[in-house]
Amino acid sequence: MRRLGPLVLEPDPAPPPARVLGVSLLALAGAVAAAGVVFAAYGADPLYAYAVIVRGTFAGLREISEVVRRTIPLLLCGVGLALAFRAQFWNIGAEGQLLAGAVGATAVALFVPLPGPWVLVAMFAAGFATGALWGLLPTLLRLRLSVNEVLTTLMMNYIALYAVAWLIHGPWKGATQFGFAYTDTFPEAARLPLLAGTRVHWPTLAVGLALAAALAFLLARTRLGFEVRVLGQNPVAGRYAGIDPARTLLAVMVLSAGAAGLAGVGEVAGVHHKLLDPGQVSLGYGYAAIVVAWLARGSPLAAVLTATLLGAIFTSGDVLKVALQMPFRVTDVFNGLILFFLIGSERLLAVRIRWAPPAATVRVGSGLPGTPEAGGES
């Protein structure tokens, strides 16, 4: 316990939601301020840049719908990562899993003849399957040989990136595209419908929202969810309780990587209508989804909000490119700073601030501030 003028700081390892929200907002404010310093170093007026961002993301229907469009892949990857992080599985491979999903969907769109409405269904199924498959090898290596999944999932990202590049330059190079590296354009039946007047491919958005709700339910109300939470908080206790970590992690990774695969389906079927340069299929959504999941503190429902925030950042990247000639990479500055401020502020979560002006009120603090466990609902 510490005194700060009339304030008393006490350890409190179980933060109420209001404090979690407050600290998160504080961290975001810090990241925005730090980004201003970076803007100034680049030679741009930070206040003008902020104004450009606000106008470019909230000014009207067109701007907001662009944010929503960017939110879709972030949401799908983000909820999957939230689930994996809850199980203490460090899936850093959403980027590769997204690309794998895009490849799966493209294969169906270009090469599998199906009756009309079944095309899109099959594309989503194939995207989920290829995404999950892309996450399988790191999972098996972790389970069988205890190989650190951070590195293997990352390596799979690079392998996916070059695999897509190979496909579009080699075997899948479109016959109709002279000199450009991408596949043929998808037939009409393999394109997702858009919300009128926008570029929002709403079926993918619906899938993302449904998945967020389903995973929240899974975590809170099902046996698998319980096992995930126990394994994430105390693997040893989990084993004593008879939880099979291999089975649980496998289920988690199929869902997590599959969700990222769905994001890939949305990008090719809803935005590009073809498979193209991996850097254009995904603008780094898989990496930014790490921020989405961490900012949501492992809660799939909160990920809807945090994905929207990151969606706004990606839209800002477009806007800043036009208004201030900044490279799109500026989004990574934001993402990195948010992550830094977020984890840097985590210790504040375990501190309760109380107003106690008069004579010293002596209370015995229980325990030391520990690392707060991820978790919104329980």
Partner: protein
């Protein structure tokens, strides 16, 4: 006909490209030996590459560029050190944040510097390679035959015991992480001043991650890191050389696929062997 010459040239280029990998790996090994894993290598390397290129352009002195790059890498590493050691935040996430931030910042500030030729490059690549080899030997000697080495390893293995013996755990960790950053920054400088020599956004292309992987399957041993770095230098170089026969995209995949293979091959049976006991665990006096 000139078979021998081709092999020799390949070996020399492999050694050259193995050099930044070796520098980075040695730095990461020192950091991890102190108990702090730094996933920010890619970010520190790219910042070093940009800093070196810009300074060399402005001053005409590539050696100054190398020095500034090392300092920039060290400063970036201190950010990770502050968040993960002082604030005791998750080391994985902090390192990832550093990589994102580094790639973003370098992409942003390096915008005007792309495509410019560098007139004053680092002249003696072989000297830099030898410096790396010498450093590996020196680190091995320091680790196992000096008091500093014992202090560093004990902080990574059992910080509470080191603390009880009067070692300043946080200070040792800060220094080790900073050293890792200096080496990563210098490795980036090597790419933009000697190997390429040019600045392009994202030019480290995943090398920072390979560095972290080598630290693991070299079992945190500086001498084994030499072998790993040369192997991957050869792989990266072959991925350029074999392009006449195999699709370049498939070749570029090779080092990453091989990394997974190497991690799997060295993990089987003797799992976790050589990993510092307290790797990734923040230390607080009086807490276990």
């Amino acid at each position: 006909m000139d078979e021998g010459g081709w092999v020799l040239a390949t070996a020399i280029r492999a050694m050259a490209l193995g050099t930044p990998i070796l520098w980075g790996t040695l730095g990461e090994i020192v950091a991890e030996r102190s108990g702090v894993i730094n996933l920010g290598v890619e970010g520190m390397m790219i910042l070093g590459a940009l800093a070196a290129f810009v300074v060399a352009q402005l001053t005409g002195q590539p050696a100054v560029g190398l020095g500034v790059a090392a300092a920039v890498g060290g400063a970036a590493a201190l950010l990770h050190a502050f968040v993960s050691i002082t604030l005791r935040a998750n080391q994985y996430v902090s390192g990832l944040a550093l990589t994102m931030f580094g790639l973003g910042l370098a992409g942003l500030l390096g915008r005007g510097w792309e495509g410019r030729p560098l007139l004053d490059t680092l002249p003696e690549i072989s000297a830099l390679t030898y410096a790396g080899l010498g450093l590996a030997a020196a680190l091995w000697a320091v680790f196992y035959h000096t008091r500093w080495g014992i202090v560093l390893r004990s902080v990574g293995e059992m910080p509470a015991a080191a603390d009880a013996l009067g070692v300043n755990v946080a200070l040792v960790r800060y220094l080790a992480v900073a050293f890792g950053g200096v080496m990563a920054g210098a490795a980036g400088a090597f790419l933009s001043l000697a190997y390429r020599p040019a600045w392009t956004e994202g030019m480290t292309a995943g090398m920072g991650w390979i560095v972290i992987a080598i630290a693991i399957f070299a079992a945190w041993d500086p001498l084994r890191a030499v072998a790993g770095a040369l192997l991957f230098g050869a792989l990266f170089h072959l991925s350029f050389r074999l392009q006449a026969w195999v699709a370049p995209e498939l070749l570029k995949m090779m080092p990453f696929a091989f990394t997974i293979l190497a991690l799997a091959a060295t993990a089987g049976g003797r799992r976790g062997q050589g990993a510092p006991e307290a790797l990734g665990v923040p230390y607080v006096t009086g807490e276990r």
